[in-house]
Subunit: 198 residues, 2 copies
């Protein structure tokens, strides 16, 4: 059965990201829902804000002005460390490129409160369906040192609740069971499948 | 002599900032050039970029879409620490609000290379004169501990070249002699006075 025939709108979705790891994680989830995810290797416009929702919403709207008549997705995420007032938060990518994991571990040295959470915001827009935002959160702690070599970004220093391993010690399928991004994309997929099947 | 009479365009300039300290620093400089600076207490749109020039240019253009037919100024600045690959850079304000001065000092503990610079970018736009960008830089070092109580932001931990005092140990007039913001606004003022007098 072709969804596009049945519903009249395209079931293909274009995901704008420069990060192939993110694309692979999302592709794996959406394929379970028979949603075809295409890769748009293009920079999105990111504003400075303490709110990931605001950043992702602005980005997907700006993208829609360049790619009208498409199903568009952007995703933004961040690591929020309680003892550091949410730092690095929405600026996780910049902080990773500058002070890096060793900088985070240095800032956390001597701290007993190591609680942190990853948050992912997926923003979708299409002419037919409008704007929708989906969030996923995973709580955990900052490890005492880097562990594991899989994944990317802060994965080697984040241990999700319910596990004793860092994200970097998990393969992509195990990580997706826990991960904020997995949760946000799963919410999107369930919603999108439903509207496709209406 | 009224410049606006002579040249046909307004000599009043609107500076969009939420930071009254920045406004005072700029006002003091521009008044020496007989430029009337008005305060627009409004948020500017800041994009995420490693380039202050890009951030300020985007912001002043967006502002011009809301305030057409005005002389508009925005300013963005950042502290760039060499040993931290430029961190906190364009995200200095967010980093100040989260890990703060103590976080920076912790990241710098045990480091002998303490070189850093402040950079300020002033972006101007008007219908008559178009877009112009002015930069000011001041080199210095990160202090071993916080000193002084004047100024704002990173002033207590930055010692400019040629001084043994932090910015926070200087009054606003002395700071303006050194400061990146002082230099950028002085460049703007010299240019703007010249075009007013043409």
């Amino acid at each position: 059965m072709s969804n596009s025939t049945k519903t009249g709108f395209r079931s293909r979705v274009l995901f704008a990201t420069r990060n192939m790891n993110k694309f692979k994680e999302a592709f794996l989830i959406l394929s379970k829902y028979n949603i075809q995810l295409d890769h748009l290797p293009e920079d999105k416009l990111e504003i400075q804000s303490d709110s990931l929702e605001e950043i992702a919403t602005y980005a997907v709207k700006e993208l829609a002005s360049r790619y009208p008549n498409r199903n568009l997705l952007v995703e933004d995420d961040g690591l929020f460390i309680e003892a550091l007032k949410g730092f690095p938060g929405p600026f996780s990518s910049y902080v990773y490129r500058t002070i890096g994991l060793s900088g985070i571990l240095k800032l956390m040295s001597g701290r007993s409160d190591r609680r942190a959470y990853f948050k992912s915001v997926v923003a979708f827009v299409s002419p037919e369906l409008g704007l929708k935002v989906f969030t996923g959160v995973v709580s955990g702690v900052i490890a005492e040192q880097e562990k594991g070599s899989q994944g990317f970004g802060y994965d080697p220093i984040f241990i999700p609740e319910g596990s004793s391993k860092t994200f970097a010690e998990m393969d992509i399928k195990e990580k997706n069971l826990y991960s904020h991004r997995g949760r946000a994309f799963t919410k999107f997929a369930e919603w999108f499948r439903n509207v496709m099947l209406v």
